[in-house]
């Protein structure tokens, strides 16, 4: 059992950035907006968080900066797609490319900087409980936040009036508009929530997961977060499970290699993606269920009728 606790600890850190970013994207997509710029928003969040933490010495300021940076990025996207009605797919891709380049430009002065990683929680007695103590009570606060946020989002969507309105806007923007809701305003807010969460996911990478700045350090995690939303069929509970499953498989293959399990490492590296595809196939076999949760208006521009 010696290997189990460290394995779980590694899985938690590998899953958290995916969970943070995909929770935000889930809300964005539920409002009917498809923002493919998650990778770019994460990178800009990562460098903003790192730069502010490195210069001010305060991780809290860094995290706030990352959230604001992610929101500003999503605001660009929202303005282009919601106000100017540009194509969402093309704009999202452009946002990612912009984010990759922009973060590299801002970050060029921060390569090679080292900072202290975010401190883990330490509650006397509780953290010291054998086995589960460190897992439950020894993480940094972004880990707890990621869990709280996904639960909060689940509650918001299924139990609150606001959640119903958001889903209505995502499922039929004309109906929502007709009964008096401001579709554009709600989509702006949902998109910016997605940006804030992506920025937070970026900050988790550059402040906690690997406390440094390096170009393109997200290495595709933004795209995985996007896939996870579909994988979870837009349901927060499944999102949580999916993010941790993805984290588990990607970490498990590294542990298997170091434990000397003789399976080709290329196959192991492929496993998380293979698992995603398989689960997607299983889920998609029941089309009715997907339709139940998928926002019907996703990706469509809203032009109010005259």
């Amino acid at each position: 059992m010696d290997w189990l606790i460290p394995l779980i600890l590694t899985v938690i850190t590998a899953s958290t950035p995916l969970l943070l970013a995909s929770t935000g994207e889930l809300i964005t997509e539920k409002s009917g907006v498809l923002n493919l710029g998650v990778e770019g928003m994460m990178l800009v969040g990562a460098i903003s968080g790192f730069a502010v933490t490195a210069t001010s010495g305060s991780a809290i300021l860094g995290i706030l900066a990352a959230i604001i940076a992610g929101m500003l990025m999503s605001l660009i996207f929202a303005f282009l797609t919601l106000t100017l009605m540009a194509n969402q797919v093309a704009t999202g891709l452009a946002l990612t490319i912009f984010g990759v380049g922009f973060s590299a430009l801002v970050g060029s002065g921060f390569v090679g900087f080292a900072i202290e990683p975010l401190p883990g929680l330490h509650i006397p007695l509780l953290t010291d409980i054998p086995l589960v103590g460190e897992i439950l009570f020894g993480q940094d606060f972004l880990v707890y936040l990621s869990i709280v946020m996904v639960i909060a989002v689940g509650f918001f969507l299924s139990r609150t009036r606001g959640g119903l309105i958001l889903k209505a806007v995502g499922d039929s923007h004309h109906s929502a508009h007709a009964i008096g809701y401001s579709v554009i305003k709600i989509r702006y807010m949902a998109t910016m929530f997605g940006g804030a969460m992506a920025g937070l996911a970026g900050a988790y990478l550059s402040l906690s997961y690997t406390p440094m700045w390096a170009e393109n350090m997200t290495a595709g995690r933004g795209w995985i977060a996007l896939a996870l939303v579909v994988f979870a069929t837009w349901r927060p509970g499944r999102l949580l499970a999916g993010a941790y499953m993805f984290g588990l498989i990607s970490v498990l293959q590294l542990h298997a290699q170091s434990a000397g399990v003789h399976v080709p490492s290329q196959f192991m590296s492929m496993l998380p993606y293979l698992a995603t595809v398989i689960v997607l196939v299983i889920i998609s076999s029941d089309r009715a269920k997907i339709r139940l949760n998928a926002p019907a208006c996703i990706g469509q521009a809203f032009r109010p009728a005259q």
């Binding site: 590694t10 080292a114 440094m212 390096a214 542990h255």
Partner: protein, 360 residues
């Protein structure tokens, strides 16, 4: 991947555009050196170290040299355009610093016989094309000796990128060094299947430490594995550049790519008109492989490391001195012989004693 490609392409296009605007006519006796990098200078590794070499030319030759560079150039059709652009804008010495630039370099070189080309890590030469690379495995032997002395668990964790000869040679050399002082050392290898993904490299390092490794070695590009070593309270080695800032308590030394002297020498040769096509594979003796200061180790280990480094430089120690057997027990290098360069360049087998299967 596509996005990355687009980004790199854009960067290359913008950079070449800027070059075209900025460059005037060529001047004969002055050196005008152009550099083509495969990654961003900000990678804190491979391309970064080449750029340090470029700056060394400017520092050493002063007003007699100007340099320019194009970073993040993808290995493909774009590379040829970038190289030709540099040749057309009056550069008389062009460094192309990645293996994948080999064919475009040779092709452009044929069209510009008066321009000198220097291609890193390749094997195709011409009257105006030289090749150069560094024997990083020598540095890995020194690292192995240090690891053999420093390990308490006798388990070394090794984060590999891809099972190519460069990396396999490094693992073999490292273990030969380690066994020369401690025959009980075992190595656990995790292939990250990436050169660059800080998160994944870090996770691989964590997995190795969880399996009992107390020395961290990496052949991937980000400082993440060493940083994990620092946070987990073990020690390890930096890659490509001195990473002591990321791991002040954990870095034992780093195998640093050091192109400065070579670049300055080649630029001077162009200036003097003595430049010739050569094939250079430089090791510790040439200064191309540089060891970062030995830190976080007892004085006797430090002395042994320095001694080993000096002996490799003088030729007294060859990391691949026979007899060397492969995993199947077959004698690959006979007693009294050293591995040939050809054998080293194509090394696709583990030496006897490594308890792992080499992915094919």
């Amino acid at each position: 991947m596509n996005v990355n490609l687009v980004k790199r392409t854009l960067a290359a296009v913008v950079a070449t555009g800027a070059l075209a605007l900025g460059m005037g006519a060529a001047q004969a006796e002055e050196v005008k050196a152009g550099f083509v990098y495969v990654g961003p200078i900000g990678d804190h590794g491979w391309s970064y170290r080449h750029d340090i070499g470029r700056q060394a030319i400017e520092a050493a030759l002063g007003d007699n040299a100007t340099t320019s560079y194009v970073e993040s150039v993808p290995e493909g059709a774009d590379a040829e355009r970038v190289i030709r652009q540099l040749a057309q804008t009056g550069h008389n010495l062009i460094f192309t610093t990645s293996f994948g630039f080999m064919n475009p370099t040779v092709k452009v070189a044929k069209q510009f016989p008066n321009v000198k080309f220097e291609h890193a890590t390749g094997y195709k030469r011409d009257a105006n094309v030289s090749t150069y690379a560094a024997r990083f495995y020598e540095g890995r032997y020194v690292a192995g000796v240090i690891a053999g002395k420093m390990t308490k668990s006798n388990i070394v964790g090794y984060v590999g990128s891809f099972p190519i000869p460069e990396v396999v040679r490094g693992i073999n050399s490292f273990m030969l060094g380690a066994w020369s002082v401690n025959p009980d050392v075992k190595v656990k290898i995790v292939w990250a299947n990436t050169w660059y993904d800080p998160g994944k490299e870090g996770d691989a390092a964590k997995a190795l430490i969880d399996q009992g490794a107390d020395i961290m070695v990496q052949h991937t590009d980000s400082p993440a594995p060493l940083q994990v070593a620092e946070n987990r309270g073990i020690v390890g080695f930096g890659q490509a550049s001195d990473m002591i800032k990321f791991a002040p308590k954990a870095q034992l030394t780093a195998i640093v790519d050091h192109w400065d002297e070579y670049y300055v020498a080649r630029a001077k040769a162009v200036m003097d008109g003595t430049w010739e096509s050569t094939d250079t594979w430089g090791g510790i003796d040439s200064g191309m492989v540089d060891m970062a200061p030995y830190t976080n180790m007892p004085d006797d280990v430090k002395a042994l490391a320095e001694e080993t480094e000096a002996k490799i430089a003088s030729g007294e120690i060859h990391p691949f001195a026979g007899p060397i057997y492969d995993q199947a027990g077959e004698l690959r290098i006979k007693e009294g012989e050293d591995a040939t360069d050809e054998m080293l360049l194509g090394m696709d087998w583990y030496i006897k004693g490594i308890d792992a299967e080499l992915p094919k």
